[in-house]
């Protein structure tokens, strides 16, 4: 992988044609929950590599710290205690939350600032904060509730999948640091193959419903999960995430056409108004006393 993998194939609020001469492989990070011990080394590595330092908070009554994603915490571990049905006992489900890098990113579709959100040929969806206008539409557009707004600079932030590292052939910092191999990184094809092997192993171990999470409603993602218990909702992942139809409408051709039609009709109406009523005349009083 090299710089060409960062060819921008999609840019918010823009119509530029993406470069197509070079082919790039789609990448993916695989999060295998069956191997994750919730050690938060990924959180630590994310802060180290990206020079992020969140506030020292409080214990909110559970293990999630920081308690939520923030502009300074682009990934957080979430811990869910679940009593499983059919006498399978207790499960402590540990889910690494963060951007899934959708193939059809809702944030990018929703973003009105040209070039503030880009999608690279390798599948990474990246925020360009210098273009960000801080409107927060990306939050509305995201079906996974990921982008976070910074009160410090009024811009939105999220996981970059370490696009800077990936562009020079390195794995993301969280993957590099994961001590148990719960995180893996490679081409999306390879990661799906690896997930397939894990599913075979998990099913043999009694996790009959084990499944890969790569939701098609957003065109698939570049962060994949191996879910030992299968059901995404157990892990608080949306079963069938989709970009809100309003966002689709807002950024779709229909909205654009409607907008253009409106503008054209205003001009047309103005023309007929002029032809019929004539120019607007300013009376003398107003000329003398402009208010």
């Amino acid at each position: 992988m090299a710089f060409q993998s960062l060819d921008v194939i999609n840019r918010s609020a823009s119509t530029s044609t993406p470069p197509q001469a070079r082919g790039a492989l789609e990448v993916a990070k695989l999060i295998d929950i069956s191997k994750c011990i919730g050690c938060k080394a990924c959180q630590s590595a994310c802060m180290e590599w990206n020079d992020l330092r969140d506030e020292v908070g409080v214990n909110p009554g559970h293990y999630d710290n920081p308690a939520d994603l923030t502009a300074q915490s682009w990934t957080v571990m979430r811990f869910y205690e679940e009593e499983l049905p059919a006498d399978k006992g207790l499960a402590w489900l540990i889910v690494k939350d963060g951007c899934l890098h959708c193939a059809e990113p809702g944030c990018l579709k929703a973003c009105p600032a040209p070039g503030a959100i880009v999608q690279y040929a390798n599948g990474i969806v990246d925020f360009q904060q210098d273009q960000c206008i801080g409107c927060g539409y990306c939050q509305t557009g995201c079906p996974f509730n990921i982008p976070r707004y910074s009160m410090k600079d009024q811009k939105a932030y999220k996981c970059t999948l370490c696009s800077d590292r990936v562009s020079v052939g390195l794995e993301p910092a969280c993957v590099k640091t994961c001590p148990t191999g719960a995180l893996a990184f490679g081409t999306k094809t390879d990661m799906k193959d690896l997930a397939g092997e894990r599913l075979v192993e998990l099913k043999a171990r009694g996790f009959e419903k084990a499944a890969l999470y790569d939701p098609s409603g957003v065109g698939g993602t570049h962060v994949l999960f191996v879910l030992p218990h299968g059901d995404p909702e157990l892990y608080r992942l949306p079963k069938d995430p989709r970009v809100s139809p309003l966002v689709a409408l807002w950024r779709s051709g229909v909205a654009k056409t409607l907008g253009v039609l409106t503008m054209v009709s205003v001009v047309v109406a103005g023309f007929f108004h002029y032809m019929k009523v004539g120019p607007i005349e300013v009376d003398e009083d107003h000329k003398e006393n402009p208010s």
Binding site: C39, G61, P179, T180
Partner: protein
């Protein structure tokens, strides 16, 4: 560890009990994940809490804190009852067949020889019956009613599944399932690895917890096998190195022992430690003790150590009694200690009963803290409100703080849990006035030596004569120290097999192995088990060859493993008596017709033919592993369940007259500070969480962000009863003090039914204090009792009693 970290991947069953490696050893835990993913291993976790290790386990059992021996004793009963033992291994490699002397017995919770007044045993009846030939008697048929096998069977007959459920809280069905998984590894081609840590050691029966597992592994034939063993996951980086180098108060380097007053002269001292074999053709390796002792004394005192003066025997202190951590702090509390030097140690946070410690520290004339961080101990005199309610105007202790360096600011070797010495290089200079520990120690030593030279003194000799030939006397380098520990030849060491052959080592050469050490003063070695780590060929610890020809994770060219670069201890036992590996897929060492060879360095006499019958446990005079511990343990030759000193059920269900460990040491004033279940009804245990390392990482921003504040874990039923919700402030009280933290109400701890009573367990992580970047917090050891294991005096942090209540909002 008998084995090593990488070797965990060879296991078929991983039993995590008395530890929580996913949180305390997340990097090493990768080998458990590897065993699961690539060896189809089953992971079993037995713990008072559903931990992050349990989150990836196949089977979890919640156990009452302090009931491990009841559980493991039940496992022994299961194995013997179902005959799920590796018979050939047990008869050939353990003392199962040995006959125990008439007079040994066990009744109502006590072994023979108990002296109630002294709280100690006369252990003379805990021994083998000896024949006229000077050898111990055995019955290979295991039928003799006094043979170890039969005695063991009788002892554990009481540990029925019902009793186990009653004492530990583990349901019979779950216990049965775990027993079956463990028993499956009695097959020669299956192994179980036992991973434990402070969850076993920090009990008044800590050493016996581990011994019970040792017995199980011997019965299953899993000691010496790849993927087997009894594996201590050490709690600090290089704590293995600390014990190897004898930094405990009664040890010398290489597990030699400090003489006691009762040892008398050097001949008696050595004779006691140089046991002859008590079975035919056995090695009894400690017969070499004089070689290790003399070489060590030559390393320390050079020419001043001579044959005539017993190799400077008089220079060694003679212990009148033990000076473990608890003993020293008790002396301090009694006002009998003037000065205390804490090096890389924060006892105010990490020793039990903070109030007692505070009182002791306040009676010192001076305290020296050598540490890279600001420790609570060095600031014990500061008032921090409820967190440290002292009156500084009443404390006269003078405190010296000497800033030292962190691991990345120095070079040297670290010994990991698997006994690997791995060299590391300096990455940065220590900040400010920080100096490496050797530099600080050297500066103090040289000043003291100068004072002795100037002013004389009662007995200046050991200080005056200490070998100190470092290039820069105030700054011994890591390499110089490492060379000294390895040792060198002081004169040519001739080859005993052929005196005309070139010497094994030439005068001045670094020694290649401890097999070359001599008892005539011609060799010096600062730590015999490290001999071979820094040879004429250079620094073996700095090697970084990852080649693993066997695929069993042996990697002989990576770092260096004591002893003799051996990766699995007792590996002779991985082969049957004829010298053929038990499992062709797990070949470690074997007899090739002429000698012992293999992927690992054989833990054996390499030319001892199998028919000679030498047994694999060469350190023992009988050559076999001990199911019956003879007189080596304080509280009995077989582990027995004793209640924690603070027990939520009061009486011991097995023998109501004998509750806690009858041989444990308990000072009178601490006895008065033990709580009873009436006032303190809940079982409590302390522990680490993954986000922090002891009391260090609270000084670093990122770990402080990841786990910012002291919390207390409670089960849902107890929380409901007390009106506590997650995130509320909760006060925890023991007989010794009170702390307040944030409540984490969880399904991961459940109330247990113990001896007909409902027992709740309260989880109390350590890590917080009044210094650092985390939210200021109480020191959890405010609560813990001042009593330890009967053998090691390791404090009982893992089982005590508390009460809990909702605290006023914002009162954290």
């Amino acid at each position: 560890m008998t084995n090593n970290w990488v070797d965990i991947k060879n296991a078929n069953v991983v039993l995590v009990m008395g530890g929580n490696p996913a949180e305390a050893h997340p990097c090493g835990f990768k080998w458990v994940v590897e065993a699961k993913a690539h060896n189809k291993a089953q992971l079993i976790v037995v713990d008072p809490r559903f931990t992050r290790t349990a989150a990836v386990a196949d089977v979890f059992a919640q156990i009452r804190p302090g009931s491990d021996i009841a559980f493991l004793g039940g496992v022994i009963r299961h194995l013997l009852e179902k005959d799920a033992i590796q018979k050939d291994y047990v008869t050939s490699y353990t003392n199962a067949a040995f006959i125990v002397k008439e007079g040994y017995g066990f009744e109502d919770g006590l072994f023979s020889g108990y002296d109630e007044a002294k709280h100690a045993y006369d252990k003379s009846s805990w021994s083998y019956e000896m024949g006229a030939d000077g050898f111990a008697k055995i019955d290979p048929t295991l039928q003799d009613p006094r043979c170890v096998y039969q005695l063991m069977k009788r002892h554990y007959a009481r540990y029925t599944p019902k009793m186990v459920a009653d004492v530990t809280g583990v349901p019979e069905g779950t216990f049965q399932r775990i027993c079956e998984a463990i028993a499956s590894t009695s097959a020669p081609d299956r192994t179980l690895t036992s991973l434990y840590a402070l969850g076993w050691t920090q009990h008044s029966v800590g050493a016996q917890n581990i011994r019970t597992m040792g017995m199980i592994q011997l019965l299953l034939g899993n000691v010496g096998m790849p993927g087997g063993g009894v594996n201590a996951l050490r709690g600090h980086s290089n704590i293995q190195g600390l014990t190897d180098l004898g930094l405990l108060s009664d040890l010398l380097p290489g597990y030699m022992t400090v003489p006691r007053e009762a040892d008398g002269d050097v001949e008696t001292y050595l004779a006691k430690r140089t046991q002859k074999p008590i079975r035919p053709n056995q090695m009894s390796y400690w017969q070499n003790y004089p070689k290790f002792y003399v070489s060590f004394m030559k390393a320390w005192w050079g020419k001043a150590a001579t044959k005539e003066n017993g190799w400077a025997y008089d220079y060694l202190p003679k212990l009148d009694k033990v000076y473990d951590l608890l003993a020293v702090f008790d002396l301090m509390y009694e006002g009998k200690v003037n000065g205390y030097v804490c090096q890389g140690f924060n006892p105010l946070a990490s020793a039990p009963n903070k109030a007692k410690l505070l009182e002791g520290l306040s009676k010192l004339k001076f305290l020296v803290s050598i540490d890279p961080l600001v420790t609570e101990t060095s600031n014990f005199w500061q008032n921090h409100g409820d967190l440290n309610p002292v009156d500084p105007s009443k404390i006269q202790t003078e405190v010296f703080r000497l800033p030292s360096s962190c691991f990345a600011e120095e070079e040297g070797s670290l010994v990991n849990s698997g006994r690997w010495l791995q060299w590391h290089w300096k990455a940065a200079e220590p900040p400010g006035e920080g100096k490496g520990d050797p530099e600080i120690m050297a500066a103090i030593f040289n000043r003291i030596r100068t004072l002795y030279a100037k002013e004389g003194g009662a007995f200046p000799d050991p200080i005056r004569d200490l070998t100190w030939d470092y290039k820069i006397p105030d700054r011994p380098s890591a390499e110089e120290l490492a060379r000294e520990f390895n040792g060198k030849a002081l004169a040519d060491v001739p080859d005993p097999k052929d005196p005309k052959a070139p010497p094994l080592a030439k005068a001045g050469d670094q020694l290649a192995t401890f097999a070359h050490l001599q008892d005539d003063g011609s060799t010096a070695s600062g730590c015999w088990i490290f001999c071979g780590s820094f040879t004429q060929a250079g620094n073996q610890m700095a090697r970084r060859d990852t080649a693993d020809p066997s695929g069993l994770g042996v990697t002989p060219g990576w770092g260096w493993s004591w002893p003799a670069n051996r990766r699995v201890l007792y590996n002779r036992a991985s082969a049957d008596p004829s010298g053929k590996p038990w499992d062709p897929k797990r070949k470690l060492v074997w007899w090739n017709g002429a000698k012992w060879v293999g992927h690992d360095v054989p833990d054996f006499k390499v030319d001892s033919k199998p028919e000679e019958g030498m047994s694999p446990f060469i350190m023992n005079p009988e050559g076999v592993g001990r199911l019956f511990a003879l007189d080596k343990m304080a509280e009995g030759p077989f582990p027995e369940h004793y209640e924690p000193f603070e027990s939520p059920i009061g009486a011991n269900p097995l023998h109501p007259k004998v509750g806690p460990n009858p041989a444990a040491r308990l000072y009178a004033k601490d006895k008065a500070q033990l709580g009873l279940p009436g006032e303190f009804p809940y079982a409590a245990t302390t522990y680490r969480v993954v986000e922090h390392f002891h009391f260090w990482t609270k000084h670093a921003r990122i770990p402080a962000v990841l786990q910012p504040e002291l919390f207390i874990e409670l089960d849902e039923a107890l929380a409901a009863k007390k009106g506590i919700r997650s995130g509320d402030a909760v006060a925890v009280r023991s007989k010794r003090g009170r702390i307040v933290g944030k409540a984490v109400v969880t399904k991961r701890i459940k109330p247990l039914k113990i001896a007909g009573q409902e027992v709740h367990t309260v989880g109390i992580p350590i890590h917080w204090g009044f210094d650092g970047l985390t939210k200021p917090g109480y020191i959890s050891n405010t609560l813990t009792p001042f009593v330890g294991d009967a053998n090691t005096q390791t404090p009982e942090f893992k089982a005590f009693l508390v009460d809990v209540e909702k605290a006023a909002a914002g009162k954290v």
